[in-house]
């Protein structure tokens, strides 16, 4: 089936088997492998992208369902070569180790802080229930997200 999906601002057209999950469309069809797969039950959040601005686990949507939509992935987050503040904060705060959960963590956190500037540590920890990290113990991820949330709320 023919789909047209705008990915990171570029319209991409392809003929896909309807059963193709969006994450496979991104990774296999478009070779945008920054989006990861960490589970098969919609738990881990490694595949988190933005669909029309909202966070989505791209393993839980068919590519055909995204036809005509706008998808944002980690590859498109940095604007004009500048890291997104969430990317910078993860780097500065050692918010990653193996890096595998990181694209999903950053995509989820960026949307969260956009919608919840000034979020508290407890709110951040609760929000991150949909993103699993095995390396960092979350401590520095929370620190990174809090830094951006605080900055977003600053006058």
């Amino acid at each position: 089936m023919q789909v047209s999906i705008t990915v990171n601002g570029v319209e991409r057209q392809a003929d896909v088997d309807p059963r193709t999950l969006l994450v496979h469309f991104l990774r296999e069809t478009l070779d945008l492998t920054g989006t990861k797969i960490g589970c098969d039950t919609s738990q881990c959040g490694a595949c988190t992208v933005h669909l029309d601005g909202k966070v989505l686990k791209s393993c839980t949507l068919l590519a055909v369902q995204a036809d005509g939509c706008e998808v944002g992935t980690i590859e498109g987050l940095a604007a004009g070569g500048e890291h997104h503040p969430m990317q910078s904060a993860f780097w500065e705060n050692h918010g990653l180790q193996c890096g595998y959960c990181t694209p999903g963590m950053i995509m989820a956190s960026a949307a969260f802080v956009r919608d919840n500037p000034g979020a508290s540590e407890a709110e951040i920890r609760h929000y991150l229930e949909g993103n699993i990290c095995r390396c960092t113990g979350y401590h520095n991820i929370v620190k990174a997200v809090k830094q951006v949330a605080d900055a977003a709320a600053a006058p």
Partner: protein
């Protein structure tokens, strides 16, 4: 230097590619014409294979081939830790099952297709007729007479029986002791769950007979020689590349059938073959950790002096012996029974038992968490038995500070330690005495608070090769590294180890920067490709910073010596008059005369004006075999509250004081501790792989297997002491596993401390709310 690079928590060199999605993990790498492999896996834990019909699968769209165990001419998967004096049996482990399956997930056939979806379609269409056999999962039950026999050549399912200590001496200590406490401890199976599941892709060039295997490995050089051994290819014709690797925690040490199968299929079909595990598959077939049933006793005086510890351990090996499996519940476990205490008598009988579970092997801490847990649990039991505060019992028994070697009853020589200093620091940070007061007040108000304290030391930085040989490890445990400086003064450091998230590209660059004065930005650490890097035994056992770091430090020191001599020659001065600071060599008394390290490197490459006898070039290699293990140590404290109405545990504070010697990058050290603590706490509170009695994995997805999540934890409170290792060139110790080793008993003991007023004395891990609540009800009756 004004600001030392050593000891600075600089940002990681790895991160720019990781935060942008540009890093390439195994499954991100594409080759044209690649076929996708799906593995047909046994749905039964124990069964005879009656027949396999692949005709329908072979006829499906996109399917190129289907192979079964009878088609595969690979040598069996080897076990590479042959522990001595244990009557070890190493049953055959074919890459695909032949005749019989031994755990749910055991591979019976592979399908090669042009697309992942179609490969799975065809795998589902392979019809396998099984004759189901009785299965056994519990390792203690599997060791009993009459248990289903899993391998014909492993009598009684006993793969080994390891008991190196003097039993009579131990028995005498226990007979004479005032107090003996006992507990049956269950070290439940854990699923390592690196966020990147395993993957492998192979490409074979028939003309040159060269095989390239990209795979999720913690030790590509070990993978190379195992793949060479099972395929029969010359080792120099096998290139293993561990690209970006998304965590391992031990689960990417072993060489698995899947990696051998993609290699074999690529050779057989002449096209690249790729396989990537799903999470459900990962939970079934990637190694599990722990799985001990332990019968433990501790002997003590009525004043709280610990006199001895002894244990009988039934260690579940699963359906086959994984690569390093026999060494985990033995060498890495029983030798740790002294811990940080002055315990003069230890005894361990460790029985490795085949079961119908997935194979077990090294999982973060590997044997040492299981030892630390039983020690710390028993210390709390002694405290309860004699009515003494558990912190006081520990204080009484800690080994006093030592700087250079301390022999313990388990046969090890600890390198250095100041356990009391870390212990008192942690107690102060926690406000231990104040907490006891607050706890009593809370109890009066009907609230159940608890505190757990763990003092630990552990053996890591594996380890001298001579010891490896003596304990049957089928490899060396040295590392090697090359520091290569280009003519323009940029550095490539090539290492045999294979970090996969630890930040070693940064830490190791800091070592070189410190030793040679190159800016850290100019240093690239290259790892993971057996063709590009020198031989090394891999990244596990908290060994990369201690062992590879030492190799790099020594290689750098050799380069510095060469640079000093060359600089002296160029400046027409005596070597003895050359001073070094901040990457610059100058002549004593003539500070205006100086040569930077970059200038010296260029001159070494140009070789226009070399001193007599000095070879050109600016590159040094170093093999480093450590003279001893390193022994980090510390004290961890947890404070919890238990909701008696539900059994829910709230972890309120976590304090960790760790000593890993001088910290090269404190932020990276802290990250290792944070992550390790969460992994260990999760064992205490929520993680546990559960099989049904007939061997079905009931926690087969993340819906059922409880991974720790951000909202289960407070911010951690970290402290440190610094006790250098006396035998290490720069004094550093490993820190990759300390958090996991220390935290499980810390939180467990805190919960049991909270429940003590209710009369609860023991609960099997993990401490789910249902089990805690059930224990409270049972105690009340």
């Amino acid at each position: 230097m004004s600001t030392r690079i050593f000891g600075s928590g600089i940002k990681r060199r790895e991160d720019p590619r990781l935060i942008t999605g540009e890093a390439r993990y195994t499954d991100d790498i594409k080759l044209p014409g690649v076929l996708h492999m799906a593995v047909v896996r046994s749905p039964y834990a124990h069964a005879n294979i009656v027949s396999i019909d692949s005709a329908a699968a072979e006829a499906m769209d996109g399917v190129v081939a289907v192979f079964t165990g009878d088609d595969i001419d690979l040598a069996g998967m080897p076990t590479a830790w042959l522990i001595p004096d244990s009557d070890l049996k190493t049953p055959e482990h074919p890459a695909l099952a032949k005749g019989k399956v031994r755990y749910v997930g055991d591979g019976v056939a592979i399908v090669l297709a042009d697309d992942r979806y179609r490969a799975q379609d065809a795998a589902d269409a392979v019809v396998v007729d099984y004759e189901e056999l009785p299965a056994v999962i519990d390792p203690e039950a599997a060791a009993q007479a009459g248990a289903p026999l899993i391998h014909d050549d492993v009598e009684g399912n006993i793969a080994f029986r390891w008991a190196p200590f003097d039993k009579e001496a131990s028995d005498a200590v226990f007979e004479a002791a005032d107090v003996v406490v006992s507990e049956r401890i269950l070290q439940q199976r854990l699923l390592p769950t690196a966020m990147e599941t395993r993957a492998a892709m192979a490409q074979y060039n028939a003309a040159t007979q060269e095989l390239t295997l990209w795979c999720t490995s913690q030790n590509p050089h070990i993978h190379r020689f195992i793949i060479s051994a099972v395929t029969g290819l010359n080792e120099n014709k096998v290139r293993v590349i561990a690209p970006e690797v998304g965590g391992g925690f031990g689960s990417k040490i072993p060489c698995y059938p899947d990696e051998a199968l993609v290699s074999w299929a690529a050779m057989k079909l002449g096209v690249p073959v790729k396989w990537a595990e799903t999470r459900s598959e990962n939970y079934q077939v990637t190694i599990h950790g722990r799985d001990h049933v332990q019968h433990v006793q501790m002997a003590a005086s009525s004043e709280g002096k610990i006199l001895g510890v002894r244990a009988t351990v039934y260690a579940g090996m699963g359906g086959y012996l994984s690569t390093a499996a026999p060494g985990i519940p033995t060498i890495l476990h029983g030798l740790l029974y002294v811990g940080p205490y002055t315990i003069d008598s230890v005894y361990c009988e460790s029985i490795g038992v085949m079961t119908n579970g997935a194979p077990t092997d090294a999982y973060r801490g590997a044997g040492r968490p299981e030892a630390t847990f039983l020690l710390e649990r028993m210390v709390d039991n002694v405290a309860r038995e004699i009515g003494m505060d558990p912190a006081e019992v520990r204080r009484k028994n800690l080994i006093p500070a030592f700087e250079d070697g301390y022999d313990v009853a388990a046969g090890l020589t600890y390198d250095s330690g100041d356990y009391p200093a870390a212990f008192e620091k942690a107690l102060n940070m926690a406000g231990y005495d104040d907490f006891r007061q607050a706890q009593a007040e809370a109890l009066a108000a009907g609230r159940y608070l608890g505190i757990g304290v763990t003092a630990y030391t552990e053996m890591c930085g594996l380890g001298p090769s001579q010891v490896a040989g003596a304990v049957g490890f089928q490899g060396g445990l040295w590392e090697s590294a090359t520091v290569r400086v280009t003519p323009t003064g940029k550095v490539q450091a090539l290492i045999g180890a294979s970090p996969h998230g630890q930040g070693s590209e940064t830490t190791l660059a800091q070592i070189i920067a410190e030793e040679l004065g190159f800016p850290v930005e100019d240093i690239e650490v290259v790892h993971g490709d057996t063709t590009e890097t020198p031989m090394g035994w891999g990244t596990y056992g908290s060994r990369t910073t201690p062992v590879t770091g030492a190799a790099l430090a020594k290689a750098s020191q050799k380069l510095k010596d060469k640079a000093r001599a060359l600089a002296a020659h160029l400046m027409e001065a005596s070597v003895d008059d050359i001073e070094y600071a901040d990457g610059s060599f100058s002549v004593k008394g003539s500070p205006d005369q100086a040569q930077s390290i970059q200038e010296v490197a260029l001159m070494a490459h140009l070789a226009w004006n070399m001193p007599e006898g000095m070879d050109p070039g600016f590159e040094e290699s170093q093999f480093y075999d450590p003279p001893n293990f390193v022994y980090p140590f510390g004290t961890h404290i947890a404070i919890v509250e238990v909701d008696a109405a539900t059994g829910v545990i709230d972890l309120q504070r976590y304090i960790a004081v760790d000593d890993c010697g001088p910290q090269i990058n404190p932020e990276i050290v802290a990250g290792q501790i944070h992550g390790g603590v969460v992994q260990g706490v999760a064992q205490a509170l929520c993680e546990g792989a559960i099989y049904s009695d007939d061997g079905q994995l009931l926690t087969g997805t993340m819906q059922d297997y409880c991974m720790p999540k951000a909202d289960m934890f407070p911010n951690f409170e970290l402290g440190e002491t610094v006790t250098p290792s006396p035998h290490h060139p720069i004094g550093v110790k490993g820190v990759g596993e300390t958090g996991t080793i220390a935290s499980t008993p810390t939180v467990y003991n805190a919960v049991l401390d909270a429940l003590a007023p209710l009369g609860v004395e023991q609960i099997d891990m993990p401490l789910t709310s249902a089990k805690v609540w059930g224990a409270i009800q049972a105690a009340r009756q």
